[in-house]
Protein backbone atom coordinates (compact mmCIF):
# COMPACT_ATOMS: atom_id res chain seq x y z
CA UNK A 1 0.00 0.00 0.00
CA UNK A 2 1.22 3.42 -0.82
CA UNK A 3 0.57 6.75 0.76
CA UNK A 4 1.55 9.89 -1.02
CA UNK A 5 3.79 8.00 -3.40
CA UNK A 6 5.59 6.10 -0.69
CA UNK A 7 5.60 2.53 0.56
CA UNK A 8 5.07 2.88 4.27
CA UNK A 9 6.23 -0.64 5.12
CA UNK A 10 9.58 -0.12 3.53
CA UNK A 11 12.39 0.82 5.85
CA UNK A 12 13.18 4.53 6.05
CA UNK A 13 15.36 5.74 3.24
CA UNK A 14 17.91 8.32 4.31
CA UNK A 15 17.82 11.51 2.33
CA UNK A 16 21.14 11.98 0.68
CA UNK A 17 20.74 15.67 -0.07
CA UNK A 18 20.82 17.78 3.09
CA UNK A 19 20.25 20.91 1.04
CA UNK A 20 16.82 19.67 0.17
CA UNK A 21 15.88 18.29 3.52
CA UNK A 22 17.81 19.24 6.60
CA UNK A 23 17.86 16.25 8.93
CA UNK A 24 16.93 18.30 11.96
CA UNK A 25 13.72 19.70 10.55
CA UNK A 26 11.06 18.90 13.08
CA UNK A 27 8.50 16.49 11.88
CA UNK A 28 10.33 15.37 8.74
CA UNK A 29 10.52 11.64 8.73
CA UNK A 30 12.76 10.96 5.82
CA UNK A 31 10.48 8.14 4.78
CA UNK A 32 9.34 9.54 1.55
CA UNK A 33 11.03 7.60 -1.14
CA UNK A 34 9.80 9.67 -4.04
CA UNK A 35 10.30 13.01 -2.47
CA UNK A 36 13.34 11.95 -0.58
CA UNK A 37 14.99 11.10 -3.80
CA UNK A 38 13.66 14.14 -5.57
CA UNK A 39 16.65 16.22 -4.64
CA UNK A 40 19.10 13.46 -5.29
CA UNK A 41 18.63 12.77 -8.97
CA UNK A 42 17.00 15.92 -10.35
CA UNK A 43 19.17 18.60 -11.93
CA UNK A 44 20.23 21.33 -9.53
CA UNK A 45 18.03 24.06 -11.00
CA UNK A 46 15.02 21.87 -10.58
CA UNK A 47 16.00 20.96 -7.09
CA UNK A 48 16.19 24.59 -6.07
CA UNK A 49 12.86 25.20 -7.61
CA UNK A 50 11.30 22.52 -5.47
CA UNK A 51 13.18 23.12 -2.25
CA UNK A 52 10.47 25.21 -0.65
CA UNK A 53 7.66 22.93 -1.68
CA UNK A 54 9.61 19.93 -0.61
CA UNK A 55 10.25 21.23 2.90
CA UNK A 56 6.68 22.37 3.17
CA UNK A 57 5.48 19.00 2.09
CA UNK A 58 7.76 17.08 4.37
CA UNK A 59 6.84 19.18 7.38
CA UNK A 60 3.14 19.43 6.98
CA UNK A 61 1.59 17.46 4.19
CA UNK A 62 3.17 14.09 4.61
CA UNK A 63 2.13 13.95 8.19
CA UNK A 64 -1.42 14.55 7.19
CA UNK A 65 -1.51 11.28 5.28
CA UNK A 66 1.14 9.33 7.11
CA UNK A 67 0.26 5.72 7.90
CA UNK A 68 -0.98 4.95 11.39
CA UNK A 69 1.56 2.16 11.61
CA UNK A 70 4.38 4.67 11.80
CA UNK A 71 2.81 6.47 14.71
CA UNK A 72 2.83 3.40 16.84
CA UNK A 73 6.49 2.74 16.87
CA UNK A 74 7.37 1.48 13.43
CA UNK A 75 9.45 4.59 12.80
CA UNK A 76 12.83 4.90 14.37
CA UNK A 77 12.88 8.67 14.30
CA UNK A 78 11.94 10.22 17.65
CA UNK A 79 10.91 13.45 15.97
CA UNK A 80 8.56 11.51 13.78
CA UNK A 81 6.83 9.81 16.67
CA UNK A 82 6.66 13.02 18.65
CA UNK A 83 5.23 14.93 15.74
CA UNK A 84 2.62 12.34 15.02
CA UNK A 85 1.55 12.18 18.64
CA UNK A 86 1.26 15.97 18.62
CA UNK A 87 -0.64 15.77 15.35
CA UNK A 88 -3.11 13.32 16.85
CA UNK A 89 -3.51 15.44 19.96
CA UNK A 90 -4.05 18.56 17.82
CA UNK A 91 -6.53 16.64 15.68
CA UNK A 92 -8.59 15.56 18.68
CA UNK A 93 -8.42 19.02 20.22
CA UNK A 94 -9.83 20.45 17.00
CA UNK A 95 -12.51 17.78 16.78
CA UNK A 96 -13.50 17.96 20.42
CA UNK A 97 -13.20 21.65 21.21
CA UNK A 98 -13.31 23.59 17.96
CA UNK A 99 -15.91 21.50 16.18
CA UNK A 100 -18.80 23.28 17.89
CA UNK A 101 -17.07 26.64 17.56
CA UNK A 102 -16.83 26.15 13.79
CA UNK A 103 -20.51 25.28 13.65
CA UNK A 104 -21.30 28.38 15.68
CA UNK A 105 -19.33 30.50 13.21
CA UNK A 106 -21.28 29.08 10.29
CA UNK A 107 -24.70 29.58 11.89
CA UNK A 108 -23.71 32.96 13.30
CA UNK A 109 -22.70 34.14 9.85
CA UNK A 110 -26.20 33.35 8.52
CA UNK A 111 -27.92 35.04 11.43
CA UNK A 112 -25.70 38.12 11.12
CA UNK A 113 -26.54 38.48 7.45
CA UNK A 114 -30.25 38.09 8.17
CA UNK A 115 -30.01 40.67 10.96
CA UNK A 116 -28.34 43.14 8.61
CA UNK A 117 -31.10 42.64 6.08
CA UNK A 118 -33.79 43.01 8.75
CA UNK A 119 -32.20 46.24 9.93
CA UNK A 120 -32.17 47.50 6.36
CA UNK A 121 -35.86 46.58 5.98
CA UNK A 122 -36.79 48.19 9.32
CA UNK A 123 -34.96 51.43 8.44
CA UNK A 124 -36.39 51.63 4.92
CA UNK A 125 -39.84 50.80 6.22
CA UNK A 126 -39.65 53.64 8.74
CA UNK A 127 -38.62 56.08 5.99
CA UNK A 128 -41.43 54.80 3.79
CA UNK A 129 -43.92 55.33 6.62
CA UNK A 130 -42.65 58.88 7.18
CA UNK A 131 -42.95 59.65 3.47
CA UNK A 132 -46.51 58.34 3.30
CA UNK A 133 -47.57 60.32 6.39
CA UNK A 134 -45.91 63.58 5.25
CA UNK A 135 -48.64 64.73 2.81
CA UNK A 136 -51.21 64.65 5.62
CA UNK A 137 -49.21 66.50 8.27
CA UNK A 138 -49.37 70.15 9.25
CA UNK A 139 -46.81 72.38 7.53
CA UNK A 140 -43.37 72.31 9.21
CA UNK A 141 -44.49 69.63 11.66
CA UNK A 142 -41.63 67.36 12.71
CA UNK A 143 -43.13 63.90 12.96
CA UNK A 144 -39.88 61.89 12.80
CA UNK A 145 -39.30 61.74 16.54
CA UNK A 146 -42.95 60.89 17.23
CA UNK A 147 -43.05 58.12 14.64
CA UNK A 148 -39.68 56.70 15.75
CA UNK A 149 -40.90 56.63 19.33
CA UNK A 150 -44.20 55.01 18.36
CA UNK A 151 -42.45 52.15 16.55
CA UNK A 152 -41.66 50.62 19.94
CA UNK A 153 -45.31 50.73 21.00
CA UNK A 154 -46.21 47.40 22.57
CA UNK A 155 -49.25 45.41 23.58
CA UNK A 156 -49.31 43.11 26.58
CA UNK A 157 -51.43 40.03 26.09
CA UNK A 158 -53.91 39.17 28.84
CA UNK A 159 -52.96 36.59 31.42
CA UNK A 160 -54.03 33.09 30.40
CA UNK A 161 -53.11 31.21 33.55
CA UNK A 162 -56.80 31.54 34.37
CA UNK A 163 -58.28 31.10 30.88
CA UNK A 164 -61.81 32.07 31.89
CA UNK A 165 -62.85 35.09 29.85
CA UNK A 166 -59.44 35.42 28.21
CA UNK A 167 -60.93 36.19 24.78
CA UNK A 168 -63.12 38.95 26.18
CA UNK A 169 -60.07 40.49 27.82
CA UNK A 170 -58.03 40.05 24.62
CA UNK A 171 -60.84 41.70 22.65
CA UNK A 172 -60.72 44.66 25.01
CA UNK A 173 -56.93 44.94 24.73
CA UNK A 174 -57.11 44.79 20.90
CA UNK A 175 -59.81 47.47 20.84
CA UNK A 176 -57.71 49.72 23.06
CA UNK A 177 -54.68 49.18 20.84
CA UNK A 178 -56.69 49.97 17.73
CA UNK A 179 -58.09 53.16 19.30
CA UNK A 180 -54.65 54.26 20.44
CA UNK A 181 -53.14 53.71 16.99
CA UNK A 182 -55.96 55.62 15.29
CA UNK A 183 -55.61 58.44 17.79
CA UNK A 184 -51.88 58.67 17.08
CA UNK A 185 -52.40 58.73 13.30
CA UNK A 186 -55.03 61.46 13.61
CA UNK A 187 -52.64 63.43 15.78
CA UNK A 188 -49.69 63.29 13.37
CA UNK A 189 -51.72 63.29 10.13
CA UNK A 190 -54.69 65.59 10.75
CA UNK A 191 -55.26 66.18 7.03
CA UNK A 192 -55.88 62.49 6.28
CA UNK A 193 -59.38 61.36 5.37
CA UNK A 194 -60.92 58.20 6.80
CA UNK A 195 -59.48 55.92 4.09
CA UNK A 196 -56.06 57.56 4.28
CA UNK A 197 -56.09 57.25 8.06
CA UNK A 198 -56.84 53.53 7.80
CA UNK A 199 -54.11 53.06 5.18
CA UNK A 200 -51.61 55.03 7.26
CA UNK A 201 -52.40 52.80 10.24
CA UNK A 202 -51.51 49.77 8.13
CA UNK A 203 -48.29 51.42 6.93
CA UNK A 204 -47.33 52.17 10.54
CA UNK A 205 -48.24 48.65 11.63
CA UNK A 206 -45.81 47.25 9.05
CA UNK A 207 -43.02 49.56 10.22
CA UNK A 208 -43.71 48.51 13.82
CA UNK A 209 -43.74 44.81 12.91
CA UNK A 210 -40.44 45.02 11.00
CA UNK A 211 -38.85 47.02 13.80
CA UNK A 212 -39.97 44.40 16.31
CA UNK A 213 -38.74 41.43 14.27
CA UNK A 214 -35.36 43.10 13.73
CA UNK A 215 -34.97 43.79 17.45
CA UNK A 216 -35.91 40.24 18.45
CA UNK A 217 -33.49 38.64 15.96
CA UNK A 218 -30.73 41.07 16.99
CA UNK A 219 -31.42 40.23 20.65
CA UNK A 220 -30.92 36.51 20.06
CA UNK A 221 -27.86 37.14 17.90
CA UNK A 222 -26.17 39.13 20.67
CA UNK A 223 -27.35 36.64 23.29
CA UNK A 224 -25.91 33.78 21.23
CA UNK A 225 -22.60 35.61 20.91
CA UNK A 226 -22.47 36.34 24.62
CA UNK A 227 -23.32 32.82 25.72
CA UNK A 228 -21.56 31.14 22.77
CA UNK A 229 -24.60 28.89 22.57
CA UNK A 230 -24.87 26.79 19.44
CA UNK A 231 -28.50 25.99 20.26
CA UNK A 232 -29.55 29.65 20.16
CA UNK A 233 -28.00 30.06 16.70
CA UNK A 234 -29.40 26.77 15.41
CA UNK A 235 -32.95 27.60 16.53
CA UNK A 236 -32.70 31.08 15.09
CA UNK A 237 -31.23 29.83 11.84
CA UNK A 238 -34.02 27.25 11.45
CA UNK A 239 -36.68 29.94 11.78
CA UNK A 240 -34.96 32.44 9.52
CA UNK A 241 -36.35 31.31 6.14
CA UNK A 242 -39.99 31.87 7.16
CA UNK A 243 -39.12 34.95 9.19
CA UNK A 244 -37.28 36.55 6.29
CA UNK A 245 -40.02 35.62 3.86
CA UNK A 246 -42.64 37.28 6.04
CA UNK A 247 -40.46 40.34 6.64
CA UNK A 248 -39.79 40.77 2.91
CA UNK A 249 -43.51 40.35 2.19
CA UNK A 250 -44.42 43.01 4.75
CA UNK A 251 -41.85 45.38 3.30
CA UNK A 252 -43.08 44.87 -0.26
CA UNK A 253 -46.66 45.28 0.91
CA UNK A 254 -46.00 48.60 2.62
CA UNK A 255 -45.62 50.60 -0.59
CA UNK A 256 -48.86 49.20 -1.96
CA UNK A 257 -50.61 50.08 1.29
CA UNK A 258 -49.68 53.74 1.07
CA UNK A 259 -51.17 53.80 -2.46
CA UNK A 260 -54.34 51.97 -1.43
CA UNK A 261 -53.95 48.94 -3.70
CA UNK A 262 -56.05 45.88 -2.82
CA UNK A 263 -54.17 43.03 -1.11
CA UNK A 264 -54.49 39.34 -1.75
CA UNK A 265 -56.10 39.18 1.69
CA UNK A 266 -58.83 41.45 0.32
CA UNK A 267 -60.41 38.53 -1.53
CA UNK A 268 -63.20 38.09 1.04
CA UNK A 269 -64.28 41.76 0.93
CA UNK A 270 -64.00 41.69 -2.89
CA UNK A 271 -66.41 38.76 -3.13
CA UNK A 272 -68.78 40.43 -0.64
CA UNK A 273 -68.57 43.67 -2.60
CA UNK A 274 -69.60 41.87 -5.80
CA UNK A 275 -72.48 40.11 -4.05
CA UNK A 276 -73.85 43.16 -2.24
CA UNK A 277 -74.09 45.31 -5.37
CA UNK A 278 -77.54 46.82 -5.61
CA UNK A 279 -78.40 46.37 -1.93
CA UNK A 280 -78.71 49.18 0.59
CA UNK A 281 -75.49 49.30 2.55
CA UNK A 282 -75.85 49.82 6.32
CA UNK A 283 -73.25 49.96 9.07
CA UNK A 284 -73.10 47.30 11.76
CA UNK A 285 -70.50 46.89 14.53
CA UNK A 286 -67.07 48.49 14.31
CA UNK A 287 -66.03 49.29 10.70
CA UNK A 288 -68.31 46.62 9.21
CA UNK A 289 -71.16 47.16 6.77
CA UNK A 290 -73.83 44.84 5.46
CA UNK A 291 -76.43 44.74 2.71
CA UNK A 292 -79.42 42.48 2.15
CA UNK A 293 -79.76 41.07 -1.35
CA UNK A 294 -81.95 38.46 -2.94
CA UNK A 295 -80.31 35.29 -4.24
CA UNK A 296 -82.77 32.83 -5.82
CA UNK A 297 -85.59 33.87 -3.44
CA UNK A 298 -83.38 33.60 -0.36
CA UNK A 299 -82.43 36.62 1.68
CA UNK A 300 -78.65 36.90 1.74
CA UNK A 301 -77.09 39.25 4.29
CA UNK A 302 -73.70 40.13 2.90
CA UNK A 303 -71.18 41.74 5.24
CA UNK A 304 -67.66 43.06 4.87
CA UNK A 305 -65.29 45.59 6.41
CA UNK A 306 -66.05 49.16 5.39
CA UNK A 307 -63.73 50.11 2.52
CA UNK A 308 -61.88 51.32 0.63
CA UNK A 309 -59.57 52.11 3.56
CA UNK A 310 -57.40 49.29 4.90
CA UNK A 311 -59.46 47.91 7.77
CA UNK A 312 -60.64 44.45 8.80
CA UNK A 313 -63.35 45.58 11.21
CA UNK A 314 -65.04 43.26 13.67
CA UNK A 315 -66.93 40.75 11.53
CA UNK A 316 -67.43 38.40 14.47
CA UNK A 317 -69.30 41.08 16.34
CA UNK A 318 -71.36 41.79 13.20
CA UNK A 319 -72.31 38.13 12.68
CA UNK A 320 -73.26 37.82 16.36
CA UNK A 321 -75.45 40.93 16.16
CA UNK A 322 -77.16 39.70 12.99
CA UNK A 323 -77.81 36.23 14.42
CA UNK A 324 -79.03 37.55 17.76
CA UNK A 325 -81.13 40.21 16.00
CA UNK A 326 -82.97 37.47 14.10
CA UNK A 327 -83.12 35.22 17.16
CA UNK A 328 -81.05 32.58 15.45
CA UNK A 329 -83.30 32.27 12.43
CA UNK A 330 -80.40 31.96 10.02
CA UNK A 331 -80.18 28.95 7.74
CA UNK A 332 -76.43 29.07 7.11
CA UNK A 333 -73.39 31.21 7.63
CA UNK A 334 -70.99 31.25 4.70
CA UNK A 335 -67.53 32.68 5.27
CA UNK A 336 -65.05 33.64 2.55
CA UNK A 337 -61.40 34.24 3.29
CA UNK A 338 -57.92 34.02 1.86
CA UNK A 339 -55.95 31.05 3.20
CA UNK A 340 -52.30 30.12 3.19
CA UNK A 341 -51.52 27.56 0.53
CA UNK A 342 -49.32 24.56 1.05
CA UNK A 343 -46.20 24.30 -1.07
CA UNK A 344 -47.15 22.67 -4.38
CA UNK A 345 -50.69 24.05 -4.37
CA UNK A 346 -51.78 26.62 -6.92
CA UNK A 347 -52.45 30.26 -6.14
CA UNK A 348 -56.11 31.11 -6.68
CA UNK A 349 -57.34 27.56 -6.03
CA UNK A 350 -60.81 27.67 -4.47
CA UNK A 351 -61.60 25.09 -1.79
CA UNK A 352 -64.69 24.52 0.35
CA UNK A 353 -64.94 23.32 3.92
CA UNK A 354 -66.70 24.00 7.18
CA UNK A 355 -65.89 26.19 10.18
CA UNK A 356 -65.25 29.84 10.84
CA UNK A 357 -62.78 30.95 8.17
CA UNK A 358 -61.16 33.91 9.87
CA UNK A 359 -57.57 34.43 10.91
CA UNK A 360 -57.93 36.84 13.80
CA UNK A 361 -56.19 36.39 17.18
CA UNK A 362 -59.34 34.72 18.52
CA UNK A 363 -62.13 37.01 19.71
CA UNK A 364 -63.93 37.40 16.37
CA UNK A 365 -63.74 33.71 15.53
CA UNK A 366 -65.02 32.87 19.00
CA UNK A 367 -68.05 35.16 18.60
CA UNK A 368 -69.01 33.54 15.29
CA UNK A 369 -68.58 30.01 16.64
CA UNK A 370 -70.47 30.87 19.81
CA UNK A 371 -73.43 32.38 17.94
CA UNK A 372 -73.54 29.51 15.44
CA UNK A 373 -73.34 26.88 18.16
CA UNK A 374 -76.00 28.56 20.29
CA UNK A 375 -78.56 28.41 17.45
CA UNK A 376 -77.18 25.32 15.71
CA UNK A 377 -76.35 27.16 12.50
CA UNK A 378 -74.03 25.39 10.05
CA UNK A 379 -70.94 27.36 9.04
CA UNK A 380 -69.57 26.87 5.53
CA UNK A 381 -66.14 28.12 4.57
CA UNK A 382 -64.90 28.94 1.09
CA UNK A 383 -61.25 29.80 0.88
CA UNK A 384 -58.87 30.89 -1.85
CA UNK A 385 -55.34 29.53 -1.58
CA UNK A 386 -52.39 31.90 -1.75
CA UNK A 387 -48.90 32.29 -0.32
CA UNK A 388 -48.32 34.55 2.66
CA UNK A 389 -46.50 37.13 0.53
CA UNK A 390 -49.34 37.03 -2.00
CA UNK A 391 -51.83 37.67 0.81
CA UNK A 392 -49.88 40.71 2.01
CA UNK A 393 -49.01 42.26 -1.34
CA UNK A 394 -51.10 43.59 -4.21
CA UNK A 395 -53.75 41.13 -5.32
CA UNK A 396 -52.58 38.76 -8.05
CA UNK A 397 -54.56 38.21 -11.22
CA UNK A 398 -55.27 34.59 -10.25
CA UNK A 399 -56.83 35.72 -6.97
CA UNK A 400 -58.91 38.43 -8.66
CA UNK A 401 -60.19 35.83 -11.13
CA UNK A 402 -60.93 33.40 -8.30
CA UNK A 403 -63.34 35.94 -6.80
CA UNK A 404 -65.76 35.43 -9.71
CA UNK A 405 -65.62 31.65 -9.23
CA UNK A 406 -66.38 32.08 -5.53
CA UNK A 407 -69.37 34.32 -6.25
CA UNK A 408 -70.79 31.55 -8.45
CA UNK A 409 -70.06 28.89 -5.82
CA UNK A 410 -71.85 30.90 -3.16
CA UNK A 411 -74.91 31.26 -5.37
CA UNK A 412 -74.87 27.52 -6.06
CA UNK A 413 -74.35 26.64 -2.40
CA UNK A 414 -77.22 28.84 -1.28
CA UNK A 415 -79.56 27.25 -3.83
CA UNK A 416 -78.44 23.70 -3.00
CA UNK A 417 -78.33 23.94 0.79
CA UNK A 418 -81.15 26.28 1.72
CA UNK A 419 -84.85 26.57 1.00
CA UNK A 420 -86.67 29.50 -0.51
CA UNK A 421 -87.35 32.21 2.06
CA UNK A 422 -84.35 31.26 4.21
CA UNK A 423 -81.94 33.86 5.50
CA UNK A 424 -78.23 33.32 4.88
CA UNK A 425 -75.26 35.33 6.18
CA UNK A 426 -72.29 35.67 3.82
CA UNK A 427 -69.22 37.18 5.49
CA UNK A 428 -66.27 38.37 3.39
CA UNK A 429 -63.32 38.31 5.75
CA UNK A 430 -60.07 40.20 5.22
CA UNK A 431 -58.49 43.60 4.82
CA UNK A 432 -60.66 45.70 2.56
CA UNK A 433 -57.99 48.09 1.30
CA UNK A 434 -58.88 49.23 -2.21
CA UNK A 435 -62.27 47.50 -2.08
CA UNK A 436 -65.37 49.54 -1.26
CA UNK A 437 -68.97 48.29 -1.12
Amino acid sequence: MRYAGQSWWEPPVPIPNTEVKPPNVFGCTGRREGLGSLGSWRPLHLRKKYIYLHILHECYLVNAVIPVGQIFGTGNDLNSILFNVLYLVAFFIIILFFNQRMQIWTYQRNVEKATQRLQELADKSKEQALNSIKPFTEANADIRAKVTGFLDFFTIEPVDRDPYGVLTRLDHILDTRHDRLREFVRQIAPKAGSSDTANTEDVLEVAMALNYVFKIVRHYLILGKKTKSLMIFVQLDMQLPLLMKTAEAYFTAQKGMSEGKPWGDGLGPLVASKLMYGGAVKPISQEVVYAEVDISNRKAIILKAEGPGGVVGKPGEAVKELVEGRKGKIARIIMIDAAGKLEGETTGEVVEGIGAAIGDPGPEKYKIEEAATKYNIPIDAIICKMDIDEALTTMKKEVAEASDKIVERIRTSIVERTKEGDVVIVAGIGNTMGVAQ
Binding site: R2, Y3, A4, G5, Q6, R32, E33, G34, L35, L38, Y50, L53, H54, L56, H57, L61, V65, T106, Y107, R109, N110, K113, A114, R117, D237, M238, L240, P241, M244, K245, E248, T252, G256, E259, G260, K261, P262, L270, S273, K274, Y277, G307, P308, T393, T394, M395, K396, K397, V399, A400, S403, G434, V435, A436
Partner: protein
Protein backbone atom coordinates in the same frame (compact mmCIF):
# COMPACT_ATOMS: atom_id res chain seq x y z
CA UNK B 1 -28.40 26.16 6.53
CA UNK B 2 -31.06 28.69 5.93
CA UNK B 3 -31.65 30.41 2.64
CA UNK B 4 -31.72 34.14 2.92
CA UNK B 5 -33.24 36.29 0.19
CA UNK B 6 -30.83 37.92 -2.23
CA UNK B 7 -28.60 34.90 -2.83
CA UNK B 8 -29.37 34.10 -6.45
CA UNK B 9 -25.76 33.12 -7.17
CA UNK B 10 -25.52 30.73 -4.27
CA UNK B 11 -26.45 27.50 -6.07
CA UNK B 12 -23.81 28.18 -8.74
CA UNK B 13 -21.19 28.95 -6.11
CA UNK B 14 -22.12 25.81 -4.18
CA UNK B 15 -21.68 23.70 -7.32
CA UNK B 16 -18.28 25.30 -8.00
CA UNK B 17 -17.27 24.68 -4.39
CA UNK B 18 -18.28 21.00 -4.55
CA UNK B 19 -16.55 20.56 -7.93
CA UNK B 20 -13.31 22.01 -6.55
CA UNK B 21 -13.49 19.66 -3.56
CA UNK B 22 -13.95 16.67 -5.85
CA UNK B 23 -10.99 17.74 -8.01
CA UNK B 24 -8.90 18.17 -4.86
CA UNK B 25 -9.72 14.64 -3.72
CA UNK B 26 -8.91 13.27 -7.18
CA UNK B 27 -5.52 14.96 -6.90
CA UNK B 28 -4.99 13.43 -3.46
CA UNK B 29 -5.86 9.98 -4.80
CA UNK B 30 -3.54 10.42 -7.77
CA UNK B 31 -0.75 11.52 -5.47
CA UNK B 32 -1.34 8.55 -3.21
CA UNK B 33 -1.84 5.67 -5.57
CA UNK B 34 -0.18 6.56 -8.90
CA UNK B 35 3.41 5.48 -8.69
CA UNK B 36 4.19 7.12 -12.01
CA UNK B 37 3.30 10.47 -10.42
CA UNK B 38 5.42 9.91 -7.34
CA UNK B 39 7.77 12.71 -8.27
CA UNK B 40 4.92 15.18 -8.48
CA UNK B 41 3.32 14.24 -5.19
CA UNK B 42 4.26 17.52 -3.56
CA UNK B 43 2.79 19.53 -6.37
CA UNK B 44 -0.37 17.45 -6.48
CA UNK B 45 -0.93 17.64 -2.75
CA UNK B 46 -0.24 21.36 -2.66
CA UNK B 47 -2.59 21.94 -5.56
CA UNK B 48 -5.21 19.77 -3.86
CA UNK B 49 -4.90 21.68 -0.63
CA UNK B 50 -5.09 24.95 -2.55
CA UNK B 51 -8.25 23.82 -4.28
CA UNK B 52 -9.76 22.78 -0.94
CA UNK B 53 -8.93 26.21 0.48
CA UNK B 54 -10.48 27.98 -2.53
CA UNK B 55 -13.53 25.73 -2.25
CA UNK B 56 -13.97 26.65 1.42
CA UNK B 57 -13.49 30.37 0.68
CA UNK B 58 -16.12 30.23 -2.06
CA UNK B 59 -18.52 28.43 0.26
CA UNK B 60 -17.89 30.75 3.18
CA UNK B 61 -17.73 34.10 1.45
CA UNK B 62 -19.82 33.36 -1.63
CA UNK B 63 -23.05 34.57 -0.06
CA UNK B 64 -21.51 37.91 0.88
CA UNK B 65 -20.25 38.58 -2.62
CA UNK B 66 -23.56 37.69 -4.22
CA UNK B 67 -25.37 40.75 -5.54
CA UNK B 68 -28.82 41.43 -4.19
CA UNK B 69 -31.62 39.96 -6.23
CA UNK B 70 -33.47 42.68 -8.02
CA UNK B 71 -37.17 42.60 -7.27
CA UNK B 72 -39.27 41.50 -10.21
CA UNK B 73 -41.01 44.53 -11.71
CA UNK B 74 -44.69 44.53 -10.88
CA UNK B 75 -47.35 46.22 -12.90
CA UNK B 76 -50.68 46.95 -11.28
CA UNK B 77 -53.58 47.00 -13.69
CA UNK B 78 -57.01 48.56 -13.21
CA UNK B 79 -59.74 46.79 -15.16
CA UNK B 80 -62.72 48.92 -16.14
CA UNK B 81 -66.03 47.24 -16.94
CA UNK B 82 -69.64 48.18 -17.49
CA UNK B 83 -72.76 47.14 -15.55
CA UNK B 84 -74.78 46.86 -18.78
CA UNK B 85 -72.43 45.54 -21.44
CA UNK B 86 -69.31 43.39 -21.63
CA UNK B 87 -66.87 46.19 -22.42
CA UNK B 88 -63.50 45.68 -20.81
CA UNK B 89 -60.68 48.17 -20.66
CA UNK B 90 -57.34 47.97 -18.89
CA UNK B 91 -55.11 50.79 -17.74
CA UNK B 92 -52.32 51.34 -15.21
CA UNK B 93 -53.38 51.72 -11.59
CA UNK B 94 -53.76 55.30 -10.40
CA UNK B 95 -53.79 56.39 -6.79
CA UNK B 96 -57.42 56.76 -5.74
CA UNK B 97 -58.63 53.75 -7.72
CA UNK B 98 -60.72 51.22 -5.81
CA UNK B 99 -63.26 48.49 -6.54
CA UNK B 100 -66.09 49.20 -7.54
CA UNK B 101 -65.48 52.93 -8.11
CA UNK B 102 -68.06 54.45 -10.48
CA UNK B 103 -66.38 56.12 -13.46
CA UNK B 104 -69.31 57.68 -15.30
CA UNK B 105 -71.09 56.58 -18.47
CA UNK B 106 -69.80 53.66 -20.52
CA UNK B 107 -68.25 54.63 -23.88
CA UNK B 108 -70.09 51.82 -25.65
CA UNK B 109 -73.61 51.70 -24.17
CA UNK B 110 -73.79 54.73 -21.84
CA UNK B 111 -74.34 52.38 -18.91
CA UNK B 112 -72.43 52.72 -15.63
CA UNK B 113 -68.76 52.01 -16.04
CA UNK B 114 -66.85 51.06 -12.91
CA UNK B 115 -63.57 49.62 -11.73
CA UNK B 116 -64.13 45.90 -11.97
CA UNK B 117 -60.77 44.65 -10.74
CA UNK B 118 -57.34 45.76 -9.65
CA UNK B 119 -54.53 43.26 -9.76
CA UNK B 120 -50.80 42.90 -10.13
CA UNK B 121 -49.24 41.39 -13.22
CA UNK B 122 -45.63 40.29 -13.04
CA UNK B 123 -43.80 41.72 -16.00
CA UNK B 124 -41.27 39.46 -17.67
CA UNK B 125 -37.83 41.02 -17.96
CA UNK B 126 -36.91 41.65 -21.61
CA UNK B 127 -34.32 39.26 -22.97
CA UNK B 128 -31.20 40.17 -24.91
CA UNK B 129 -33.22 40.68 -28.09
CA UNK B 130 -35.43 43.13 -26.25
CA UNK B 131 -38.40 40.80 -26.59
Amino acid sequence: MSKIPGKSRQPTLAIISIALTIVAFILFILATFMESLADYTTLLLTAGLGLLAVSWIIYFFGGRMAPKKEPTPEKVVTVIGCRNCDVREERDFQQGDFIPKELGPCKKCSGKSYIKAIYAVTEKKPNADGK
